[in-house]
Amino acid sequence: MAVAEALPANTDRGGAFAAFFGGRTLGAVMLLAPAVLFFVVVFVIPVGLMIRYSFYQQTTTGDLTASATLANYARLASVDLYRTVVMTTLRVSAWTTLIAMLLAYPLALVMVRGNALVGRALTVIVLAPLLINVVVRTYAWRVILANGENGVLNWTLAHVGLGPVRLLYTEWAVIIGSVHVFLPMMVLPLSAALGKINPSVEEAARTLGANSWSVFRRVTLPLSVPGLAVGATLVFSLTASSFVTPALLGGNFAKMLGTLVEEQILTVFDWPFGAAIATLLTVIVMIVNLGSVWLVERRFPSRASEAH
């Protein structure tokens, strides 16, 4: 009797033991080890080394100084030119995110709630540009925004009797180009969030006498915040760390962290300073990511865990 009682427990424990250290775990290790090894060697360690580099300085012979220092960061914070670059990066990214939100909302609403055929067509229209090279899309904006009479926009303005505008090589050119390039990254999470809202909640609000605008403002908008937060994080991070768009549309007149770091590493060869800029960029992106997770989890404890 005692044996009979002990047996099931024993096999159970034995089973769990075997499952953990025997065949099944071996299977998981075999499947996952190559990728984990690859990621540690070519991603985790190099990023760590790069961050470490940012705390050293380069001597005239190209070697590193012996002791760690914050000099690169002090330089980034104290020199006017670099401070301007940091501020431009934050400003351009913030405007791009805000404009992308305003444009993405109607698109996402129609994609989710509109006519099924229109929604499907819209999905393809929004997604397709993601597969067109960023250099090509940015080139198109150079053609449109070109200063002088050959620019599409200025030609059009001249024909309706409006004065020429100087947009290429300004911050606004970078913002316009970035909105065009990154808008899909806002529309996708937003439409996913809108799709999760139960239409009967909005129906109930309408039945209770709310007009379309208050249904949107009091029901739809608050419930879509998680999607907006994900989209905003993506667009802000991608804009802040972009190179092609600021280089081709902003040139030297709207320098951003991406163009500065390229110049410091590939032209000036100041590795430690370049590493400090790259680390700052990483910190900015991480703050934005963690901030949006924190915001969503505070307001939507259940939804945040659902999204993971």
Binding site: L32, M50, I125, N133, V136, R137, Y139, S241, A275
Partner: protein, 267 residues
């Protein structure tokens, strides 16, 4: 669903949406329009009609050799991403163990980590270990940033199939490799295909990694085009842009036919 789902503002909303759609699409038409212009410079509005710029760029080594290099790089990277991503997806979907979330976070992190910084870190690594073969360096870098796409598409396919069929095959004496090849693989073909195409396209379009790892001889297409923009003033550059837009449209059509674009991009 009817327009009722949008309430009374439906007409206004459709109008606004139409304008935003134009903002998304119309800019892409200008390079195409300008590429037919019969003028020695890019001018707007385009004048005349000629196909000579297409003929010119197709015979221009500055365009054709980076193009072929990018195709080669894309194929190698897609193979690398499939070889590394498929077992990872299987491990993450089929097993649960402590630290699973951490590993998943690690292998998907290149999607959220600033890619420019990943490129700098890779350049630092390859410089310190004296790895100067830029094709090898680029394939490693592109594989790193394309693996997450394969993991996502293959995971999505794995979640749709019944794991008990695999267990049955194992019980009946098939080895792990046999089970994968004869049971699992045929069922996840759409995921493998979408992942492979995605990895190829992502590699083909990549700039943020390539800009650090390319050298003067091994020059992928997006970088060649970037360089040509500031150097080529005839409509040839518009012709190159048009050819690349055309290629993207073909890929969109293929993906839409294969799995549906939305599913392929796993949104």
């Amino acid at each position: 669903m009817s327009e009722g789902g949008l309430g009374k503002g439906a007409v206004l909303l459709y109008a606004i949406t139409a304008v935003i759609t134009l903002f998304l699409l119309v800019p892409l038409l200008f390079p195409i329009a300008l590429s037919f212009s019969d003028t020695p410079f890019v001018v707007f509005p385009p004048q005349g009609f000629t196909l000579q710029w297409y003929w010119k760029v197709l015979n221009e080594p500055d365009f054709t050799s980076p193009f072929l290099f990018s195709v080669q790089l894309g194929i190698f990277s897609a193979i690398g991403a499939l070889l590394l991503g498929t077992p990872t997806a299987m491990g993450l979907v089929r097993y649960s163990f402590p630290g699973r979330g951490l590993i998943q976070g690690l292998v998907l992190s290149p999607l959220v980590f600033p890619m420019l910084v990943t490129g700098i870190a890779l350049l630092r690594l390859f410089t310190s270990i004296n790895s100067h073969s830029s094709l090898t360096n680029l394939v490693i870098g592109h594989t790193l940033v394309t693996v997450p796409y394969v993991i996502r598409t293959v995971s999505a396919s794995l979640l749709l199939i019944d794991p008990s069929i695999e267990d049955a095959a194992r019980t009946l004496g098939a080895t792990r490799a046999q089970t994968f090849w004869r049971i699992t693989r045929p069922q996840i073909v759409p995921g493998l295909f979408a992942g492979g195409i995605f990895a190829f396209v992502t590699s083909f379009d990549n700039y943020a990694i390539s800009m650090w790892l390319a050298d003067a001889e091994n020059f992928p297409m997006p970088m060649a085009m970037f360089a040509l923009i500031s150097r080529m003033f005839d409509p040839g550059i518009a012709a190159i842009a048009s050819l690349m837009i055309l290629m993207s449209i073909l890929i969109v059509v293929v993906l839409e036919r294969l799995t549906g674009l939305q599913r392929a991009m796993s949104v």
